[in-house]
Structure formats: structure tokens, C-alpha cells
């Protein structure tokens, strides 16, 4: 089959590799009909996430049709149309039973690596480094899905791929970021740093959850325009001081909750940002934290700072004093995607939201290497790329 392969830092390519096979009786094989490139794939591309190996198949946002079923799979059959969220969960451990699917105890065969770095291992992820299990990803024509009864969700409506594909990551990720702010409907103001795909869904989710007002901060005009189209106020931090603009927009209080949907992607100004970049190059610090600093400094007293943006390593110069003085609450972590599939699918079915709004580029799998660059460099108005592996 054809697959997108990580060939080294800043190198991805299309290669022909063996078709996946069932490795355990609880696996299924899915023939992929649609697959997306995610902002977090860019962290793999630029090498800031450790433990990628040459030859790894990328991709963690995909869907398709089941073509092969392991003998212990109970809920699925060949021919089922499924979406497959990026977290691999076992469904049986205590975290899974509590709905904390990304904290699964049992799905990461390389738990040792994550334990060495983080003290504990979360669950496996598709196509997201060996520390997270080294599972082959879904930017390919076929994929093996482990613990399939938990990880493959049947889609029975006739919604198009584009409308349900993002239930695999960016819609639940944006939604969880907003949900964990504990928004008081009609009262709370929410600011979202980063108007990439996750930021777009976070902003819309905040509105769905009743935020009185949502302000989106970014520097890319077409991304800000997409947020405006959803009814958000926008701040271009290259044109104005984001912290001042947020105070003005909130009558000096600051936003009640701030979502940092940027993570390692932040572009910042000033010496702090330069230090971060230099350290990141030296691998002393994995993360750029301009957005995090702004989030802590701008957030209203008693507010929530919610972090769906991926952080991979160490950070310094975090204004903890601001967080303490204002009594902020931090919420963060990989999304427990599985718990959001059913409720968000019903919001899509009811027409409350059509997630395909975020797609700017549709292409064949062969075009992926080119589009990785386009997406990374934010060229050509690129916000979200969806690939057809069979085009």
C-alpha cells in the first residue's frame, strides 16, 4: 500500500510499504477513505517530539471501511464504516473505565520510554512516535486498529467523510478545551490563542457551550477571518498588543477563561521568545511558550487556562506568580476523544455544526509531502488538509 513515511527531521515522503495485517485477535484492518494532516504532525515533522524513527507511518486523523476483523472483535464487522480517534485505548483499565481514554494504562507497548521521560505512560497514539507506542498511523491506504471494539466508532448516518472525519481529533480536542473551562453560559468571556484547526473548534465549542463572547488571537489573516465567520472577535497580535487588546475587549477584567490552542507552535516577539527558540534548537527546551505566558498574564482572576496545544518537554520562564496571584486553574492533556464521539456526532447530525468548514485543501495522498510544507509554512491560506488515499 501507499503510506506517508517519516524519513527524518523535515522529511516526509510517499512510500510503498506492506499492507497491515491483524496482529492480535482484537484488531481490525480499515481501508482508509479519508485522512487528514494535523497541526501536531508538524511537531513530528520538525523533530521536536522525541522518539520518531525513520520509516514510521504518520497520521492520526482517519476513517474508512473495515475490511478484516480479528476473531475476538465483538461489535464490528467487515463493511462497517468507522471513524478511528487518535487515542488507542484498551477500554478495560481504570482510566478507560473512568472515561480518561488518553490515560489508558495498557495500550502503550513502549510504556518504558514515556515513564523514563514523564514518570508515567499514557495510552498509545496512532502515528505519533515510539514513546506513544510506535503504532503505524493512518496517512495510508490501510491501517491496523488495535482494541477495535473501543477504538473504531461506527458511523451509520449518510454524512459525508468530511463532516465526521474530525471527530477523530480536532473537534473533540477543541471541544474538550472549551468544556474543561467550565463556562458559565451568558456570562463568561473566552479567549482562544491560536486560530489553527483546534483553535477554530475550541472557539466554536465555547460558543456552543454558551460563552457570552469569544475572542480569537492569531496573526494569520485567513485564520482570523474564519473565526470571525463564526461570530468571534479577533485580535491580530502582529498589529496590536494582544494583552492590551484583551483588557480593552473585556473592560479590564481579562477573559474569564483562556484556551492556548498553540502549544509548541507559538510565534512570539521579544527576548523571551528568542530564548525559547534558541533552547528549542538546542533541545534544552522543547516548547515555545509565548502563548502560555500570554494566557497566564491575560486571564481574569479565578479563571481557567486550558491547554489543548501539545507540550512535549520542559519549559521555563512560566509566570507562575501571575497564575498564583490570580488563582488560576490549569486544565490540560491529550483529549479523551472517545467520550466525545457520540455527543458531537449528534451535534453534527442536528446541523448545529458542520466541521468541514475548516478544510482548505483537498488532495491525493501523493501530494502529502508538498502539503505538509504548505501547511507548516501557512502558505496558500492553508488551514486544514484532507487526503484521499485512493485518488
Amino acid at each position: 500500500m501507499k503510506a506517508i513515511i517519516w524519513q527524518g527531521t523535515n522529511k516526509v515522503g510517499v512510500e510503498t510499504v506492506p499492507d497491515p495485517t491483524l496482529l492480535l485477535p482484537t484488531d481490525v484492518i480499515v481501508k482508509i477513505t479519508s485522512t487528514a494532516i494535523c497541526g501536531s504532525d508538524l511537531h513530528l515533522l520538525d523533530g521536536v517530539i522525541p522518539s520518531m524513527e525513520k520509516g514510521d507511518i504518520l497520521g492520526h486523523e482517519f476513517m474508512g471501511e473495515i475490511v478484516e476483523v480479528g476473531r475476538d472483535v465483538k461489535k464490528l464487522k467487515a463493511g462497517d464504516r468507522v471513524i478511528v480517534p487518535f487515542n488507542i485505548a484498551c477500554g478495560l483499565c481504570d482510566p478507560c473505565q473512568r472515561g480518561l481514554f488518553s490515560a489508558c494504562d495498557n495500550s502503550n507497548p513502549n510504556h518504558r520510554m514515556a515513564e523514563a521521560l514523564y514518570g508515567a505512560s499514557g495510552g498509545g497514539l496512532f502515528g505519533y512516535s515510539h514513546m506513544y507506542g510506535g503504532y503505524a498511523g493512518g496517512q495510508a491506504q490501510f491501517v491496523r486498529v488495535p482494541f477495535a471494539d473501543i477504538n473504531a466508532h461506527r458511523i451509520e448516518t449518510d454524512l459525508r467523510d468530511e463532516q465526521v472525519l474530525f471527530l477523530t481529533d480536532i473537534f473533540p480536542t477543541g471541544y474538550q478545551a472549551a468544556e474543561q473551562c467550565g463556562i458559565q453560559p451568558g456570562r463568561d468571556v473566552v479567549a482562544v490563542f491560536g486560530a489553527g484547526p483546534v483553535g477554530q473548534f475550541a472557539a466554536r465549542s465555547a460558543l456552543m457551550l454558551g460563552a457570552a463572547h469569544v475572542i480569537v488571537v492569531d496573526r494569520v489573516p485567513e485564520r482570523l477571518a474564519m473565526a470571525e465567520a463564526a461570530g468571534c472577535q479577533t485580535i491580530n497580535y502582529e498589529q496590536e498588543d494582544a494583552l492590551v487588546a484583551l483588557r480593552e475587549a473585556t473592560g479590564g477584567r481579562g477573559p474569564d477563561h483562556v484556551i492556548d490552542a498553540v502549544g509548541m507552535e507559538a510565534h512570539g516577539h521579544g527576548p523571551g521568545a528568542l530564548v525559547d527558540t534558541a533552547k528549542q534548537r538546542l533541545r534544552l527546551s522543547f516548547d515555545r511558550i509565548t502563548a502560555l505566558r500570554w494566557a497566564l498574564l491575560s486571564c481574569a482572576k479565578g479563571g481557567t487556562v486550558s491547554l489543548p496545544g501539545v507540550y512535549g518537554g520542559l519549559i521555563d520562564k512560566v509566570p507562575m506568580g501571575a497564575a498564583f496571584a490570580k488563582g488560576l486553574t490549569f486544565r490540560m492533556g491529550q483529549t479523551h476523544t472517545h467520550r466525545y464521539v457520540a455527543p458531537l456526532l449528534s451535534r453534527i447530525e442536528s446541523g448545529e455544526i458542520d466541521p468541514s468548514f475548516v478544510i482548505t485543501h483537498r488532495a491525493a495522498l501523493d501530494d502529502a509531502p508538498e502539503l505538509y510544507r504548505t501547511f507548516r509554512d501557512k502558505h496558500d491560506g492553508c488551514i486544514k488538509v484532507v487526503l484521499n488515499p485512493w485518488a
Partner: protein, 255 residues
């Protein structure tokens, strides 16, 4: 993830009899090092840092690099940050202590029964090659070693079904050791906490323990892996794997 799971569970007095080995001994870390040990640490440390930087495998890069840096720092300062970093705990008389725990969503009785079946222990603790039962209390343990195998006799010193199992090597053992496995109910109906405590005298002293740790044969990592595998066998019935999956690596042998 929430942090409300933190719960240092005190061992009840009943679990800690007078002659108790690992659980009662006071661990020491950060002791200053003799000169010879320091120079060995220094050269091993620098070599490991180099190996880590050269390594193609990312994990090795991280682990070897940082362990090497730790050893070098230890040699330079004469103190033992590495012992803390690597959690090598030693008693005053040179015994190495290793302990870890895992919470398994199953009742204690069944988990205890798996451990009490001594000939089955090599399936739980992978460094063991075999355990042969001699009589009610005594057994012969054989471990794999770089030079072949090492055997000794051990006796069970405590056996409380569903709660605790303890053993001790008999006098004359090549590797003096003792250990225990505790089975305690996890709060909130989360199953059973299985805690293993081992104490042994490493053949080459503390340098031996550090080098063994770096090479990956040190019991602390081994124990963690063993407990994780045990949990997964109990909760899933199998180990998760990516062995044999497709990739763009020709070495996968499937292309």
C-alpha cells in the same frame, strides 16, 4: 489527569514483622563516593554520553545521554545525584533495595495465587530462569546472568494468602537476597495494589549496580516491566504489540 489519586498507603503493622527485610531498612542515597569509584564513574559516564549522542535510536539517545551525564556529574562532584536519579537505594551495609507497585483491577486472592505458584514465577519475573519447589518452604531459584546462570536456595518466610508472600535466600547463596510481595485492596474499588520489595547484594558493589542499570539489566527497571506485564496479562489477557506491523523500514522484512 487529575491528581486526586495520590495516596501514600501506610503498610499496616501486621504487614511489617520484626525481622522484615526490605520494608524496614532505611535506604540511603547521595553518599559520597570513594576515589576509585569516582574515576570509574567518570569514564563510564563520558563514554555513555558519547554513546547516547551517537545512538541512532531516540530512546537510547535520551537515556544513555542523560545517564552518562549523571555519571559524569557524579564523578566530578563526588556526590551521588545519579543514585537519586536512578533510584538506586542502598542500605548502610551495601544491600541494594528495589521496590515498585502496580494497581490491577482484579481481586487480591487470584493475583496472590499466581505468585504463590512458585514454578510460574519466571513468567512474572523475567530475570528468573526457573524456580523448583524442594519442599513446603524451600525452593531452588535460578537466574540468567551474563556468564551463564546462578542458582541458590530460598525459603518462604511468610505466606498470608491474599495478602503477602515473603522469601529469603538461604545461607551460602551466590546472590544474597530477600523479598516480599504485598497484595492490598486499592481504595475506591480499583482492584488490588501489588507491591514488590526486593533486597540483594550486587556482586560488584555500587558501581556494578549503576552500570547494570545503564545496560538495562538492573532489577529496578526489570521489576517495573515485570509488574506492567503482569497487570496487562491480568486485565487484558495479552500484551499490546506493534511487532510485525507495516512500516517503511526494510528491516521489517516485509517489503
Amino acid at each position: 489527569m487529575s491528581s486526586d489519586d495520590q495516596k501514600p498507603v501506610p503498610v499496616s503493622p501486621a504487614d511489617a514483622p520484626a525481622a522484615e527485610p526490605a520494608s524496614e531498612t532505611t535506604g540511603e542515597t547521595g553518599a559520597s563516593l570513594p576515589a576509585l569509584e569516582r574515576s570509574v564513574m567518570g569514564s563510564v559516564g563520558v563514554a555513555l554520553m558519547g554513546a547516547g549522542l551517537r545512538s541512532a535510536r531516540p530512546l537510547q539517545k535520551i537515556v544513555l545521554g542523560s545517564v552518562g551525564a549523571g555519571l559524569a556529574a557524579m564523578a566530578a562532584t563526588g556526590r551521588n545525584p545519579l543514585a537519586t536519579a536512578l533510584k538506586i537505594r542502598q542500605t548502610g551495609d551495601g544491600e541494594v533495595l528495589v521496590s515498585d507497585g502496580v494497581t490491577i483491577g482484579k481481586p487480591a486472592q487470584g493475583l496472590y495465587a499466581v505468585w504463590r505458584d512458585l514454578p510460574n514465577l519466571p513468567n512474572l519475573m523475567r530475570h528468573l530462569q526457573s524456580v523448583e519447589v524442594i519442599d513446603e518452604r524451600r525452593s531452588r531459584w535460578t537466574v540468567k546472568a551474563p556468564t551463564g546462570t546462578v542458582s541458590w536456595e530460598a525459603e518462604i518466610t511468610a505466606d498470608e494468602p491474599g495478602r503477602r508472600l515473603a522469601w529469603q535466600s538461604l545461607p551460602g547463596a551466590a546472590i544474597e537476597n530477600h523479598g516480599e510481595v504485598l497484595f492490598r485492596p486499592a481504595p475506591g474499588n480499583r482492584g488490588t495494589e501489588v507491591v514488590v520489595r526486593l533486597a540483594y547484594r550486587p556482586p560488584a558493589g555500587s558501581v556494578g549496580a549503576v552500570v547494570a542499570r545503564v545496560v538495562g539489566e538492573e532489577p529496578s527497571q526489570q521489576l517495573r516491566d515485570d509488574l506492567t506485564r503482569f497487570k496487562r496479562e491480568q486485565e487484558l489477557g495479552f500484551a499490546p504489540t506493534t511487532e510485525g506491523q507495516s512500516s517503511g523500514r526494510a528491516a521489517g522484512g516485509q517489503a
